[in-house]
Amino acid sequence: MGLWLLRRVGQILPTLLILSMLIFGLQQLMPGDPALIMAGEERDPAVLAEIRSELMLDRPIWAQYLAWLGKILMGDFGFSWRIRMPVGALILEKLPVTLQLGLMAFVIAVAIGVPAGILSAVYKDRPADWAANGLALAGISTPNFWLGIMMILLFSVKLGWLPPSGYVPFTEDPVQSLATTIMPAFVLGSGIAGVLMRHTRAAMLTALSQDYVRTARAKGLPERLVVAKHALRNALIPVVTLGTIELGRLLAGAVLTEQIFTIPGFGKLIVDAVFNRDYPVVQGVVMATALIFVLLSLLADLLYMAINPRLRSA
């Protein structure tokens, strides 16, 4: 076990190293000159040369890469070229925002998707099923952008219930924080709710046709208990797996949603950085995301081992 863990961690380091090269290399393929975009309307060649030298853009790529890597190893992600704030601090400031948004979206998705899936399986081929299916289809196929604007128009402009954009940290003012994130979280969660509903329905239908369900019914258990205790428990296993996959997609989906609702999160950070060619921010955010994913996959492996003892000897 100890040896396995050591080997597993040993794999992470080269993975991260290769990732860092990829991130750095891919970025060099981005068209556009960072010095030019940094300079804005300024075109004085002397100013451009100074920017290039300050940002080391006039050095060979490998030298830029080594300098960046060296700093990363010291825990220094560098400074944003655009606003001169440390990238590490920016990441730490933005990550909780997106995590809150993602978590809320996930809760909304589960709260809508799973019950709707159960309902539509239990009332298969009845109006409730059709309605749930229709909703799921709408959730999956409605573009986030359109839904976002429509919700802003309804809840902020027409009804005046919710602030149309912006963000307040939960620690600062929980009520205001929920008010600013509920619409984006709903937009983000609605698509996933649709997917979850479809999968819950399929899993439930399979479960409901199993022998143990028939046995439970034959024992004279009330239908409510049959569905909740026997069918749902088993049906939920694939749904949970899917849910965790969707959680990752959710963070990616936050990019667009944050843009619409002007939520200062991870997604907006990277989009703005790409458009402004703020390389240290792009590199830092992508690297941090990669690190999170690598650590999560390590955690998943450890969890599998905890659940399934047969894996431990492998």
Binding site: P31, G32, D33, L36, I37, M38, A39, G40, E41, E42, R43, D44, P45, A46, V47, E50, I51, E54, S80, R82, I83, R84, M85, L90, E93, I112, I149, I152, L153, F155, S156, V157, G160, W161, L162, P163, P164, S165, G166, Y167, D173, V175, Q176, L178, A179, I182, Q259, I260, F261, T262, P264, K268, L269, D272, F275, N276, R277
Partner: protein, 503 residues
């Protein structure tokens, strides 16, 4: 679902009430994007200038008529063609309590000139030396006469920072700027908000009526509009297409004014191999292209009449605007004749690079169909803005839709673009006569003579050589809450916070 709705509504309502109470005397201004660093020496974005208007006063300002008026200065006079004497206002304090005097002004100008990464250096590099005459007076010696110099001091180069704070903070000054404007810096959350609070020691404190100003960057124009409509913003620039949405709303009004900005099509006439085409070499073909464009129709179709068609780089609001060089009437017959004269086969293919932006794209498509009637096949190549900028710089374009935010002095709208040594002359247009006229206009201090020099530039650089097609000058369109009084529309589009009152 149904059980949740009342709960949500209650939550939201509570949140709304809280928000109203907490922001009683707060002025909220929407910005198109998040500003860059808030250091007058290192800053370069347009939206950053809007924030600086609350933070940092300038030696001079401009008014609605584009005249230069004193702000931190009380006056100036040219002691010679190269010597400018500036007198300063008394009793101006920085946000850290320090007194602003001539020493501080000289410090800031030197900082602009020498700090690494300064974007001000090229604006004021005509300065040779600076003298402090007395605490309220300074003298600036220039290397050569410069008619445009004073106008540079109406923007960030004319902002004076607290020397003590600037020395202490070094390169990080922009994360906690200390200036002398009506509001001082409180906090900034990147991509979310910049908060300023009233500075009690402001020299013109009687003219400041709100307690706080919050600048909110909101990239999407429809979301900006929604914020305005729901009362989450008091002022913001809006898209011309959003005017109808505001017109019916009693809580809002629209403010429209001329801007300094222009939109043009830049032609590659000498930058690399892409200029080696009949289009790049023969001005008659470019002239035909220009004549095929109906600027009035563009204005109506794409901008709902909210731009001003132009044919020169100066805004109609400028005192240097040449009334005798109006935008040409569309003339398809003449355009066809010019193409025939040039001896090229039609349809004549031209590729135009257009930065990705829905409005520009639409304008490009309208132009595409207009020039088609004259015998051009216009191919539109959409490109993300940063990429298009780099491509233009390298000469990888035939025609490029290029905009300029505009400067109040004509030199800032012409020299860099039309002079053969101009840094923004990406098409590498070169005509010795134009160079001579632009150099002479740069040094001419007499407004009348200077105007006469510029008036000679247009018929050559545009009329004869067609190095660019100037298309329109944008109008500034602001949505303003009816609760807000005293909003002034200045052609630079910068919101002046002095005099603004909230009901």
């Amino acid at each position: 679902m149904t059980r949740k709705t009342p709960l949500l509504a209650a939550l939201a309502l509570g949140a709304g009430l809280l928000a109203t109470a907490a922001q009683a005397q707060t002025l909220r201004i929407g910005l198109r994007e998040d500003p860059d660093i808030l250091d007058p020496t290192l800053a370069r974005t347009y939206v950053g200038r809007i924030v600086f208007a609350g933070l940092c006063d300038k030696l001079f300002d401009i008014n609605e008529k584009l005249q230069i008026v004193p702000q931190l200065a009380t006056g100036y006079n040219w002691e010679g063609p190269k010597t400018l004497r500036i007198t300063l206002r008394q009793g101006v304090k920085f946000h850290d309590g320090e007194i602003m005097d001539a020493e501080a002004v000289v410090y800031s100008l030197k900082r602009h000139m020498t700090m690494q990464g300064s974007f001000r250096r090229s604006e004021i590099n005509t300065i040779e030396s600076l003298d402090v005459v007395d605490p309220q007076t300074l003298r600036i010696h220039l290397k050569e006469p410069s008619a445009a110099f004073l106008s540079q001091l109406t923007d960030r180069a004319g902002m004076v920072v607290s020397p003590k704070a600037a020395e202490a903070a070094g390169k990080d000054f922009g994360t906690r700027p200390v200036c002398n404007g009506p509001f001082r810096f409180v906090e900034r959350v990147a991509q979310d908000r910049i908060v300023l609070e009233k500075f009690p020691g402001y020299w013109d404190a009687g003219n400041v009526h709100v307690d706080r100003v919050v600048y909110l960057p909101i990239a999407d124009s429809s979301v900006r509009l929604a914020n305005l409509q729901s009362g989450a913003l008091e002022v913001t620039e809006i898209a011309p297409t959003d005017i109808p949405a505001i017109k019916g709303n009693r809580a809002l009004r629209i403010a429209v004014g001329d801007s300094l900005a222009y939109q043009s099509i830049l032609f590659n006439v000498g930058n690399g191999s892409r200029a080696d085409t009949p289009f790049g070499k023969d001005a008659r073909i470019r002239r035909a292209f220009d004549l095929a464009i109906d600027r009035d129709a563009l204005n109506q179709v794409v901008f709902e009449g909210m731009v001003t068609p132009v044919a020169q780089p100066l805004p109609p609001a400028s005192p240097y605007y040449d009334q005798d060089f109006p935008p040409p009437q569309r003339d398809v017959e003449k355009a066809r004749a010019l193409l025939k004269e040039a001896g090229v086969r039609t349809p004549f293919v031209v590729e135009m690079t257009v930065p990705t932006n829905p409005e520009l794209r639409q304008a490009a498509e309208v132009i595409q169909s207009m020039v088609a009637e004259a015998g051009f096949e216009l191919r539109i190549s959409s490109m993300e803005f940063a990429s298009s900028l780099a491509a233009a710089h390298r000469g990888e374009f035939q025609a490029y839709m290029s905009a300029w935010s505009g400067r109040i002095d004509p030199d800032g709208n012409t020299w860099a673009f039309l002079h053969s040594r101009g840094a923004s002359n990406d098409g590498r247009y070169a005509n010795p006569e134009v160079d001579r006229l632009l150099d002479a206009a740069r040094a001419e201090m007499d407004e009348g003579k200077r105007r006469a020099l510029y008036d000679q530039v247009w018929p050559i650089a545009i009329g004869k050589d067609q190095s660019r097609s100037y298309l329109w000058s944008r109008k500034l369109v602001f949505g303003v809450s009816s609760k807000l009084e005293g909003f002034r529309m200045v052609p630079d589009g910068i919101v002046r916070v002095q005099g603004l009152k909230l009901d």
